[in-house]
Symmetry: C2
DNA sequence: AATTTATATAACCTTTTTGTTATGGAAGAA
DNA sequence: TTCTTCCATAACAAAAAGGTTATATAAATT
């Protein structure tokens, strides 16, 4: 079980962060934050093929970031955000490093919001 | 410039989440949260070769998650957490989905802390 | 000057990721 | 029933990731 001195593995985080590392998948998640959507709807904005999007959805599903449903012929996806909290929770350990009370993180966030990107303002 | 209907790319997040998707690199970051360390010190807990660790460090550096320094022959790494805030900031957009005021996220976090893992409690 | 220590880089291999096209199946429409 | 729509899966190729060993380099030590 033990594989090194200071940590065990947490495979969920591999899968979750891995899923978040792709711009298409992040865009899909952003889209789903506005409500569920069918595969074709999700695929439309991309120049990618439909099977490619289907596989991205499978990656997101394995990461527990979405869940699939059934609506006649459609298999709409809907957000399932619990596992994103897992990611946030891991990042959270670094708040102690950033400062006792979020100060530095807050600074950075304020800074980011003053020059927002399109991706951040997806809605 | 425009590549699809609802988002632009944010390559930083690809790199950052990609860097966080590997358990060795997360363990290195956790170690660095307790203070700077040389390459050999970082490599010691793993059964991996030193060149492999050097490459993990390069990935982390490219992601802006660490910075390298010079101490005689050593090239110690130190945490540079600003870009982790970028990741948190992106995830932040889903707090609206979780609930108006963090409620659901808080629930999940409380839940996680009641059954913590080794990796979460690295210090 | 020669050796040792700390680290980086090169060359290579294997596995995983990410896309493609082709095809199949299930459900609704005609 | 036949056609169309929506989606998944298979087979394939290219590129990226992650490891290895061998070697180079720079600084400290002897």
């Amino acid at each position: 079980m033990e594989e090194n001195g200071y940590t065990h593995q947490q495979p969920d985080l591999d899968i979750i962060f891995g899923a978040l590392a792709d711009p298409t998948r992040r865009a899909i998640l952003s889209r789903l934050a506005t409500g569920q959507a069918s595969v074709n709807e999700l695929a439309a904005p991309f120049q990618m093929s439909q099977p490619a999007v289907s596989r991205h959805l499978k990656v997101l599903e394995k990461a527990g970031l979405i869940q699939r449903e059934v609506d006649e012929q459609r298999r709409p996806a809907r957000l399932r955000a619990d596992n994103m909290a897992l990611a946030v929770n891991w990042l959270d350990e670094f708040r102690a490093f950033w400062g006792t009370s979020f100060d530095r993180l807050d600074d950075v966030l304020v800074d980011l919001q003053s020059k927002p990107t399109e991706e951040q303002n997806h809605e």
